[in-house]
């Protein structure tokens, strides 16, 4: 489909105006920054309503097929809408796993029937999705998943447990990785992948208290839970391949995601702004030479990450180690955020010791963000594992 620049420009103006006018007022409680941090019912309701409104007004799923509730437009429309969300710093879209993991997966491999069944309610946030990959004893070692599924008639009987299921309390569906054979050739080929209904006898969800003191993740227990075999994605034993495909939607810049803001991200600009407000030795912190140097270093690093994304779009500049930039997006972004929050805290003098409270600087947001930042440097393959992956896959270094 060809896109006229005029139409795009008009859409940009329209999106910009809509988000400016419809940005929700601050509710009376602190909002989470990502879908992984939704800890209370009021937060959940607020965010679900927001996604629904965004969808009803046509700003999410723009590139998804029309027949399944999408906009049927080129990706560039969604990019414009997402950018407007970021510009106006509106809340993120709650149904992240649905929009960016399960949705693209279903669109790429399910039957038309299943697409009709799942996709529209993902977009409207009517049905929330969660993810069941990690297990308590095999954190980063997905291939070693031990949660078991035994074929029994038309069902698989699942036993075991999954951890870090965000929105587990609210989700209607889970993308679930299960070991259906212990005698497969390799540990990977013994895995299968399901779109599992959460309202199933034998599935129990227990919230986990995070290091921040809040809730937001769950542990999901399976006790002889019967999942229909028809819920399997691909064939038995395809689980690893499907899971990897799913992870690619998240880790890299592959297409297919519904788009939309997935986090209310703090940027280095927020830190600069804080440094202007914060006082050090009776003067704005931003006048302190040490703080200036540290800020400059962070800004240069942040800009480097932005420019890298642009460089990755230019094939001629791919260089000797192709893939380095895209494969390191998560590593760079999450580690940068952690350090940035640490630095932001250091600007607050003795008040840096405060925590979530109206007397804390920015209501304790920086402290909370710092602690939450570990979900990025740990979840989805720790920083240490990311280094291994890049070292081995991109640089060709031998395995440990």
């Amino acid at each position: 489909m060809s896109v006229s620049p005029t139409e795009l420009a008009e859409f940009e103006v329209q999106a910009d105006r809509w988000f400016a006018e419809n940005k929700p007022e601050k509710p009376g409680f602190i909002l989470p920054e990502t879908f992984m941090e939704v800890g209370t019912d009021e937060q959940f309701k607020f965010l679900r309503a927001w996604q629904n409104k965004v969808y009803e007004n046509g700003y999410v799923g723009l590139s998804w097929p029309k027949e399944f509730g999408g906009g049927g437009l080129p990706q560039v429309y969604q990019d414009i809408a997402t950018k407007a969300m970021a510009t106006h710093r509106v809340p993120f879209l709650l149904n992240t796993i649905g929009l960016n993991w399960a949705g693209p997966l279903i669109l790429s491999m399910s039957s038309s029937e299943d697409k009709k069944k799942y996709i529209p309610s993902i977009l409207s946030a009517e049905e929330i999705w969660c993810q069941g990959f990690s297990e308590p004893d095999h954190g980063s070692d997905l291939g070693n998943a031990q949660c078991k599924g035994r074929k029994d008639g038309d069902d698989y009987v699942i036993n075991g447990s999954k951890i870090w299921t965000s929105l587990g309390m609210y989700a209607k569906h889970m993308i679930l990785l299960v070991r259906t054979s212990t005698e497969a050739e390799s540990k990977y080929s013994g895995l299968s992948f399901f779109l599992a209904p959460m309202k199933t006898d034998g599935i129990e969800v227990q919230p986990i208290r995070k290091l921040t003191g809040e809730y937001g993740f769950c542990q999901t227990f399976f006790n002889d839970a019967r999942i229909p075999a028809s819920c399997m994605m691909g064939k038995e034993g395809d689980g690893w391949r499907v899971a990897m495909a799913t992870l690619m939607f998240e880790r890299s810049a592959e297409g297919g995601q519904a788009g939309g803001l997935s986090m209310m991200d703090l940027s280095i600009d927020d830190v600069i702004e804080l440094a202007k407000r914060a006082m050090r030795n009776g003067k704005p912190a931003i006048e302190d030479p040490f703080i200036r140097t540290e800020l400059v270093k962070l800004i240069v690093e942040a800009k480097g990450n932005v420019y890298m994304a642009d460089k990755a779009e230019i094939p001629a500049l791919e260089g000797e180690w192709p893939g380095a930039v895209t494969m390191s997006i998560k590593l760079r972004a999450t580690e940068f955020k952690r350090r940035m929050c640490q630095f932001a805290i250091s600007l607050q003098g003795a008040n840096a010791s405060r925590y979530i409270d109206d007397r804390a600087v920015d209501e304790g947001m920086w402290q909370r963000s710092y602690l939450n930042a570990f979900s990025g440097t740990i979840g989805g393959g720790t920083t240490q594992i990311q280094h291994n992956i890049i070292g081995e896959r991109i640089l060709g270094l031998p395995k440990d």
Binding site: I208, M279, F290, F374, S375, I378
Partner: protein, 369 residues
């Protein structure tokens, strides 16, 4: 002349403290203690009284042991090791202020009760969070033979339990220290503060024209001394905290397997653990050197040593706490994991009484010019 003089008293107290905390405050009960901070404090305070710790820096003639802060250091270090958040540091600081700046009458009036197990605290920080103890907005005006105190103090630890607190205020353009009694405190607005270290009970106190007898103004306060004392004690807490968090890290690294191997065999975890160990040894060395300087009485040396210990130690502890979370992986992200307790403690220690950058800026002229 070695940089560290470790007295027999320090040695004995350290040994006692190691055993006391190991028996009474085992590290596997940290979470339970946090659920019941008051009960835990009672338990600690009873033991401290029995062991004479509440009177260490109080002169003998006021019922104490006539020892110095150097002998308090091993106790605070072990408190840090076991993540105790009692009023011991604030009480010791209040006593230090009175011992160094009080008149004989004042000492006689305030010290014996503490030696016998009373609790006290200090209020030196204000709403702007400035680390410079001379940045004081709280104001005292002498009127009709009374001091009228107006202002607000923050991060006053254990204010609800304290028999009295020592607060800083400007009187006649000079920063002074004033004792405020329980009775007087009861006329103030005391609000609990939410702080990152949940083992702390922190309060803000608002003085609205609070009337205080002039006899409660300390004579010749030396804020530098008081700052050095605070830095020394926080550094002790940091040193102990570093041991504690390293122990937490090691126990995970030697028991948790990933990809079929103990995670402690991976160099990306092993090597930072070694860095933490070496930073602990360095922090501890700075700490006991600072303690020796304070005993030695050289003010400049003490300031250099105390600021160095705090600057070096607080960065090391913050690093260790941060890595503790990371190295615990998913479990580290839970409230249940001890790593977060130490990271929160590290952040508290890092940002009370000045962070590394702040102290570096004061060390520069002392070390370079």
């Amino acid at each position: 002349m070695t940089a560290i003089e470790f007295s027999d008293e320090q040695s004995m107290i350290l040994e006692t403290a190691v055993n006391f905390f190991r028996e009474k405050f085992p590290v596997n009960e940290i979470h339970e203690r946090n659920e019941n901070l008051d009960g835990s404090t009672d338990l600690f305070w009873a033991g401290a009284k029995e062991l004479g710790w509440t009177g260490i820096v109080i002169p003998e003639n006021y019922g104490g042991l006539s020892l110095s802060l150097s002998e308090v250091v091993p106790i605070v270090e072990m408190m840090g090791r076991h993540l105790i958040g009692s009023p011991f540091i604030p009480t010791t600081l209040a006593v230090t202020a009175i011992v160094s700046a009080g008149s004989e009458e004042q000492k006689a009036r305030w010290l014996p009760s503490v030696a016998e197990g009373g609790i006290a605290s200090v209020g030196l920080t204000e709403e702007d969070g400035s680390w410079n103890l001379s940045d004081v907005k709280t104001n005292g005006e002498v009127r009709d033979g009374e001091l009228i105190l107006k202002g607000k103090k923050c991060f006053v630890l254990d204010a609800k339990r304290a028999d009295f607190i020592v607060v800083s205020a400007i009187i006649d353009h000079v920063v002074s220290l004033i004792i405020v009694t329980r009775e007087q405190l009861n006329k103030c607005i005391i609000r609990s503060e939410v702080v990152i270290d949940e083992t702390r009970q922190s309060f803000s106190i608002e003085f609205n024209d609070l009337k205080i007898p002039l006899t409660q103004i300390l004579d010749k306060p030396d804020l530098n001394d008081l700052e050095n004392a605070a830095l020394l004690l926080i550094s002790a807490e940091i040193s102990g905290g570093l041991s504690g968090v390293l122990r937490v890290i090691l126990s995970y690294l030697t028991t948790r397997k990933q990809f079929g191997k103990y995670i402690g065999s991976y160099q990306s975890l092993k090597h930072p653990a070694v860095q933490i160990l070496l930073s602990l040894e360095a922090t501890r060395s700075h700490l006991y050197h600072a303690a020796a300087c304070l005993s030695g009485g050289d003010k400049i040396k003490t300031e250099v040593a105390a600021r160095s210990a705090k600057a070096y130690g607080s960065d090391a502890f913050a690093f260790a706490g941060d890595r503790a979370i990371q190295f615990h992986g998913g479990f580290g992200f839970t409230y249940e994991c001890d790593a977060q307790l130490f990271l929160r403690r590290a952040l508290w220690c890092q940002y009370q009484f000045g962070d590394a950058a702040y102290h570096h800026s004061y060390l520069a002229p002392l070390l370079l010019d």
